[in-house]
């Protein structure tokens, strides 16, 4: 039967199932395939904190959302067009994210009485007309998978585990995507170890694809053309991987050995995993006994002359607090990556949030200023971490790099940088004993010399006690302390002269500025696009350098009548902006553990301007 092909600009698909159903793998496979076809995309994995929650429960539902298109894709989508639900729990927990008229694909075999009960349902939604707003395709995925594997003599359990590939194959058919990328993946992943497993997965993948082709149910398939991305070589990258690459690149460009001290914590652990694989780059990774040991080992590593980093999430950053103060006192380079998650306390380990900003900027005893940067997209984690390393070394200071759970596990196409043209990271260790003073300062940056053990004649002691200016000897004199407080602050302020001016999208002054930081970039930018389409003149400012702020930021903000600051916290950047620039900013704050929805930002802005500016 000939099927119609319709072309779409963009599509959002959400895969949802039990945490044991392999939804993350399914989503990642789909992502890699659409990426390779040149679509722009953005993904959002949304998985439970429990490793293996009981099957069929609502809290055990694992989701993966991908938005891809031929147009600029900024977010994984506020709502989805297609919901693939492998069981009733996945359907009920995700239904609110499906737009009216959207498509549902469910595994009807999983709609058993028991599973309905587990999902808290008294009637079967496939029969009770509650889904009439949507286009429902109930498919016996379990049965069809079993049929596809009938001759292979496999256990029911095993068969059950492959049914996600049926759904994947079907989605490839629906969106006119080829199977080759996933075939290659299956062959490489399982083929070597177990030919039978590989064969089974391939059969199921093809069965899903062929089902779409042959069944009467689907009459239309969709095509999404490649996006108009800048020319060059691309790959797909997740935030944590990009952060790891940023550190390795900085290590190579500076010529310094890379040392990572870390303690596992969701959602930061993947940076440790990635780097521990890169031994051929001379990377030394150290899984410490806790976060305090992790940062302290990194401080020791920095003293000994390595590019030292420590990676963690909010609770771990809290533990590193005292040692960060030591790093400020010792004035040693150190890159700290905080992959923020929902807090306080253990909070929402697998969800995203921006609530560590003030902890990063101010959360230490005493006056302990340091540099803070924030990455704005998964791929941007690379450049942000690279920049953190460059500044840490140039200014002899710890730098905290804020990313978050959404950036860490979200993916997007990345125009692969040319290693040769990355900004240089010059390093000069002190060598000359003549007139050497551990706390003498560079006249421009105020950085002190980096004098590493093993250098003859530069033996010196440093520590957390207040230092005398220049000599670094212990000193408790009141005026010296006041001077050192000022010098440490001034050094961080001088970073502003070394970083670019604040960029903005839209008019340089006027009515409304939307000011964000970090991972809200995509949500705010799409809200801005929407607002412009409704006739509003809006400027978007996304801040990467949070401490110090870019030198033009105050003047820039002063040029707008209304400054709106959307954040996934209760208002943290806004406090810093108000304190520093006396700007009468308005906050938009939603803290659900999820990225901000651009529609909500738009509505908020509309309400603020009361339609007057339209």
């Amino acid at each position: 039967m000939a099927k119609k092909v319709e072309t779409l600009d963009e599509v959002t698909i959400r895969f949802a199932g039990d945490s044991g159903d392999g939804m993350q793998l399914t989503g990642t496979q789909f992502t890699n395939t659409v990426a390779a076809l040149g679509n722009d995309l953005s993904t959002l994995p949304d998985y439970p904190a429990e490793i293996r929650a009981p099957a069929g429960t609502t809290y055990g539902v694992s989701g993966f959302q991908i938005k891809f298109g031929s147009v600029d894709i900024l977010t994984p989508g506020d709502t989805c067009d297609v919901l693939v639900a492998m069981n009733p729990a996945a359907l009920v927990t995700n239904l609110k994210l499906l737009r009216d008229g959207g498509t549902i694909i469910v595994n009807e075999d999983a709609f058993t009485e028991k599973n309905l009960r587990m999902a808290g349902l008294t009637t079967n939604p496939l029969e009770d007309h509650s889904l009439e707003r949507f286009q429902v395709n109930a498919i016996g995925i379990t049965k069809l998978t079993t049929n596809a594997l009938a001759e292979m003599n496999l256990s029911t359990r095993f068969v059950d585990k492959t049914k996600n590939f049926f759904a994947l194959g079907l989605m490839y058919w629906m969106y006119n995507r080829p199977l080759d990328q996933s075939i290659r993946f299956i062959e490489e992943k399982f083929g070597v170890k177990d030919k039978q497993v590989a064969e089974a997965n391939l059969r199921v993948l093809r069965a899903g694809y062929n089902y779409g082709d042959t069944t009467e149910v689907f009459t239309t398939r969709f095509d999404v053309r490649p996006a108009k991305l800048p020319p060059g070589r691309y790959r797909n990258v997740m935030g944590n991987a990009a952060a790891a690459l940023g550190l390795v690149a900085a290590s190579r460009k500076s010529g310094l050995q890379l040392f990572l001290g870390s303690y596992p914590i969701t959602p930061a652990s993947d940076i440790l995993h990635e780097l521990s694989k890169l031994k051929e780059f001379g990377v030394k990774t150290f899984q410490a006994e806790d976060e305090i040991a992790a940062i302290c080992a990194s401080i020791g590593a920095s003293y000994a002359g390595a590019l030292a980093a420590t990676t963690t999430s909010g609770p771990g950053l809290a533990l590193k607090t005292e040692a960060l103060g030591l790093a400020v006192m010792l004035e040693l380079p150190l890159v700290v990556i905080d992959v923020q998650r929902g807090g306080p306390s253990t909070g929402l380990p697998t969800k995203t949030e921006q609530a560590d900003l003030l902890q990063a900027v101010q959360g230490r005893n005493g006056e302990a200023p340091l540099c803070v940067l924030a990455a704005s997209s998964p791929a941007d984690c690379f450049l942000t971490v690279y920049e953190a390393a460059r500044l840490a070394i140039k200014f002899m200071t710890p730098v905290i790099c804020l990313t978050d759970g959404y950036l860490a596990n979200g993916a997007e196409p990345w125009l692969i940088p040319d290693a040769a043209t990355l900004p240089p990271i010059p390093v000069s260790f002190a060598k000359d004993p003549a007139g050497f003073q551990p706390y003498a300062r560079d006249p421009v940056t105020l950085a002190r010399p980096w004098a590493i053990p093993g250098t003859p004649g530069l033996e010196h002691r440093i520590g957390g006690l207040e230092k005398q200016d220049i000599t670094g000897n212990i000193n408790y004199e009141p005026d010296n302390h006041d001077l050192m407080i000022r010098l440490r602050a001034e050094k961080i302020e001088r970073i502003a002269a070394d970083i670019p001016e604040q960029a903005f999208d839209g008019p340089a002054s006027g009515g409304i500025a939307l000011v964000g930081w970090g991972s809200t970039f995509g949500s705010i930018r799409s809200a801005v696009t929407g607002l412009r389409e409704s006739g509003h003149e809006v400027t978007h400012i996304q801040i990467r350098h949070i401490n110090p702020f870019p030198r033009n930021l105050g003047a820039l903000l002063a040029g707008f009548r209304t400054v709106i600051v959307p954040e996934i916290n209760s208002g943290q950047l806004i406090k810093l902006l108000r304190a520093k620039y006396l700007v009468n900013a308005v906050g938009f704050n939603v803290v659900r553990g999820l990225p901000l929805r651009s529609e909500e930002i738009e509505e908020f802005v509309e309400k603020q301007i009361g339609g007057n500016h339209a």
Partner: protein, 342 residues
């Protein structure tokens, strides 16, 4: 075994290890002796001065690095083993020493201590045990004895103390020793042995805090009582002690007991012979502390040869490089799947 073979460094003297900083310990403090013994033996070691790194936490004892003219970090309370670990991993050719106290190393930093020891980084720990918090002016510590009256325990200590040597043994330390501030010759010898050990070395040093816990160890350090209360451990030799060396330790089952050698009933051949390679024996010796009738063992309890953490870390890197070649940054950035947009 030293980490690096040196091309005969210029002969160093005690002066090379003395810094220009005023020493700020109380007059009469046991820390002075420990500093002096270290400054005396360091010149013997096959390193250039710039290869030593001294790391400490917080406490009177942790002031140590300031008084040595070496590379040093005076860190934060309890974290010296972690800081030292980072230094050592990055540059294994450095000779890294940790100075810590009973509070610094066993209370706030106890976790770092046990993990550093079990990893067997080639780092030497000198733990100044004065059974008190000196710097904060006299609260009890994790080694204070039951009933000890201190500022924070006016009615006496009720928590059971750590035996630092047992703790180190339990943490799988490959070198464990005990020495005393007031026995300089023996302390020097133990420091030499620690230096010579290729792996983590833990040295507990009984140290008199004459201000807040004066005389805590006098039984073991003073002329009148010392001979009957201390037994010096020597590898391959029977455990003999007493003023005229007329007493010995023998094993009755797993239980050590003191026996007279002059009564005709026991001879040196009945005695326990020390074996530094025997970790079971090391535990038995460490536990002698529980029997007040037994002398306190001093010296090297255990010295085992195990691969160090940093050597294995280096091996893994070397193996990866020989298998895959030196990492290529551009290839790494490219990853596995790429596509080109024209």
């Amino acid at each position: 075994m030293p980490d690096t073979a040196q091309e005969t460094p210029a002969k160093l003297t005690i002066k090379d290890f003395q810094s220009d900083q005023d020493v700020r310990w109380c007059p009469g403090c046991g820390d002075y002796s420990i500093l002096a013994q270290v400054q005396r033996v360091f010149p013997e070691f096959p390193h250039k001065r710039e290869q030593y790194v001294a790391v400490s936490g917080i406490g009177c004892s942790s002031r140590f690095p300031y008084y040595l003219n070496l590379y040093g970090i005076h860190g934060i309370h309890g974290r010296a083993p972690a800081i030292a670990s980072g230094v050592k991993m990055v540059n294994p050719s450095l000779d890294v020493w940790v100075a810590t106290g009973d509070g610094d190393g066993l209370s706030i930093g106890g976790n770092h201590m046990i993990h550093m020891l079990r990893r067997n980084l080639n780092i030497k720990v000198l733990l100044f045990n004065n059974q008190i918090y000196g710097l904060t002016k006299g609260q009890y510590s994790p080694t204070s004895v039951l009933g000890q009256i201190t500022k924070s325990t006016p009615a006496g200590v009720i928590d059971f103390p750590f035996i630092p040597v047992s703790l180190a043994l339990g943490a799988q330390a490959t070198f464990v020793a005990r020495a005393m501030d007031r026995d300089p010759k023996h302390l020097q010898e133990v420091v030499r042995r620690a230096e010579g050990h290729h792996g983590a070395a833990f040295v507990e040093i009984y140290q008199n805090c004459n201000v807040f816990n004066d005389g805590a160890f006098f039984q073991f350090t003073e002329k009148e009582t010392k001979d009957d209360h201390v037994v010096y451990l020597e590898h391959g030799k029977p455990l003999v002690f007493g003023k005229d060396r007329t007493k010995g330790i023998r094993l009755n089952g797993f239980r050590p007991e003191a026996v007279p050698l002059d009564g005709g009933k026991f001879s040196p051949s009945d005695l326990l012979v020390h074996d530094e390679k025997d970790s079971t024996l090391a535990f038995i010796l460490a536990n002698m502390i529980h029997n007040p009738d037994l002398p306190r063992p001093m010296g090297v309890f255990l010295a085992l040869d195990h691969p160090t953490y940093e050597d294995q870390m280096g091996d893994q890197i070397a193996r990866a490089k020989s298998r895959k070649g030196d990492g290529d940054l551009q290839k790494l950035l490219n990853g596995e799947e790429t596509w080109v947009i024209k």
